[in-house]
Subunit: 170 residues, 2 copies
């Protein structure tokens, strides 16, 4: 493992959320990589994250189960690609653990809004806080649009607010 | 980057070629990671590999163009996932460079036999030679079957024979 990949964003295919938060990046990292903390902030209320499994290494599992206010559960399984402590976390839903290509979703699941994407979360020091960047990389314009319509900006932004609140209570 | 992933093979979904070759693994590595050498062995004759692009790092491009005896060209674009010199090389066609999910192939291309898989090539010292293991990991039983029917064992085996011949001429 040598140089880290530089991610070039393509506005046609990607979505990005960039924010300054007033907590140090070491704590943002912990909130992103510890199941007990992640469950408290990962899904914008009133949705909840009821389960989380993290094997923090390239090829390792990143699994969450989200629950809707009506009680329906949506499991998500992804695979970590890059793990650079306090700096960058990359995972994808295009691969399952061990880099196995994800099985094609049933039409039913696909209609529920399952989106294939790679997430690149970057943490840079910014004064006493952190410049936080979440980049969602898609393979198709339709996936980017669907993700946008599902409320990427609002949802990931609210989740980040929740993360900050969780960290401040740690 | 810490621990490397251990790859557990699933016979329902995976294909594996394991062989002992009488050349040192450092040379097998060079043959796999240098475009000028790779083009000489990668495709079983009478097919040829007419172009090759390698950016040898996680997230980097692995692109080849194969040409059929009739002159038709088939480009393949994949992404490296793990690069451990002389030991292990992992790439996938489920992702494009920069970990971007691959765009869905057109029906036409899919019918030409494009298969989504992750390849794990392992090189272990074995006396003065190398124990060579090529593992092809699929997400669907149908993809494994299609790959098998396309001649995985025969094709990857012949390519390995060509690799050994190329290395012996280096």
């Amino acid at each position: 493992m040598t140089r880290s990949t530089v991610h070039q964003s393509d506005p046609r295919l990607d979505l990005v959320l960039e924010r300054i938060v007033d907590i140090p990046r070491e704590l943002v990292w912990i909130a992103w990589t510890t199941p007990e903390h992640l469950k408290k902030w990962f899904t914008p209320a009133p949705w909840t994250t009821v389960d989380c499994e993290i094997d923090l290494r390239p090829g390792g599992i990143f699994r969450t189960v989200m629950r809707s206010p009506e009680g329906q559960e949506f499991p998500n399984v992804g695979c970590y690609l890059e793990v650079i402590k306090n700096e960058k976390l990359v995972w994808t839903t295009a691969l399952a653990p061990g880099y196995r290509p994800s099985s094609r979703p049933s039409v039913e699941v696909a209609e529920c809004g399952l989106i294939v994407f790679t997430a690149v979360i970057s943490f840079e020091p910014h004064g006493n806080g952190t410049k936080y960047t979440a980049l969602a990389i898609h393979g198709e314009v339709e996936d980017r649009k669907k993700h946008e319509e599902m409320g990427f900006q609002d949802g990931w932004g609210k989740a980040l607010d929740q993360l900050v609140a969780v960290v401040k209570k740690m």
